[in-house]
Amino acid sequence: MTALIFLIFAGIAVFCGVNLVVQTHPIASALSLIGVMGSLAVLYLQLGGEFIAAAQVIVYAGAIMVLFVFVIMLLNAGAETPTFQVSRFVKYLGAILLAFFLGLISFIIQGALPKSEGVLFGTFQGTALDVGRKLFTTYLLPFEVTSVLILIAIVGAIVLARKEV
C-alpha cells in the first residue's frame, strides 16, 4: 500500500517538477509547484511527518505560493518567449544527459545508504506533540531567532513594496 502511494505521488511530484521547468507561463509553473508541494505533503505523511505535512500545506502551499500567485496575477507577466531557439538535437542530448546524471546519482545514493529497512506507513509517528516538545526545549533559540527573522522579512517586504508616497 505504501509503495503504491509512494509511486503515485512521486510520479506526480516529478511530473509537476518537470512541468515547472518546461512551462512557459509562470502561473502554470506556480500551480505545478503547488502540485509538487501537495504530493510531498503526502510523502511526509508516509514518512511519519504528520505535523510537517500539515505545516507544508498550510505554510508552503497555503501562504507562500499564494504570494507567488498574487505577484504573478498582479504583474500579469506574460508567457516567456524563448529567446534562443535550442535545436531539437540539443534538447534530446540534454534530456539524455540529465537522465544519465540522475541515474548516476541514484546509483551513488543507493550505494551510499546502508541497507536500511523500508518505509512502512505508521512505523514512526512524528506527532505534533513530540515536535512541539522538542521545538520549545532543545530548539528554543533557533525558534526565537527565526521569529526575529520573519519580523525583519515583514518590515523589509513592506518597505520595499510600499508605493512611494
Binding site: 515547472l20 511526509y44 545508504l113 523500508g118 518505509v119 512524528g126 522579512a153
Partner: protein
C-alpha cells in the same frame, strides 16, 4: 513489488535528488525571475524531503524541526524576494533576468 511491501529509504532520497536537479535546471535555464524564484523553492522542498527521510531513518523528530525552520526561512525569503521583484518590475517594467544587469563591473 507487492504494493504493500516497505519502500526502501533510498527511493525517497533519489526523488529528492531528482527534484533538486530539476530545481537547479530551472534556476539556470529559465529567464523569468519569478520562475527562477520558484525553482529555488522547489530546491528547498527537495531538501525538506531528504530532512524528513533522514528523520524517519533515525526515528527522531529533529528532521521535522529542521524542515520546519527551512519553511520559515523560505517564507521570509519569498516575502522579501517578491517585494524585490515588484520593485524591479516597477522600475524596469520587465521580468526578464537578462535585462536586469546594471550591476556590471
Amino acid at each position: 513489488m507487492v504494493p504493500n511491501a516497505p519502500v526502501p529509504l533510498s527511493w525517497y532520497l533519489i526523488l529528492s535528488a531528482i527534484l533538486f536537479a530539476l530545481g537547479v535546471a530551472g534556476f539556470i535555464f529559465r529567464r523569468n525571475i519569478i520562475t527562477v524564484f520558484m525553482s529555488i523553492e522547489l530546491m528547498l522542498n527537495a531538501v525538506n524531503l531528504s530532512f524528513v527521510t533522514f528523520s524517519y531513518q533515525f526515528k527522531q523528530v529533529d528532521g521535522h524541526i529542521y524542515s520546519f525552520f527551512v519553511m520559515v526561512v523560505a517564507a521570509a525569503e519569498a516575502a522579501v524576494g517578491l517585494a524585490i521583484i515588484l520593485t524591479v518590475f516597477k522600475n524596469r517594467a520587465t521580468l526578464m533576468i537578462d535585462e536586469v544587469n546594471s550591476m556590471k563591473y
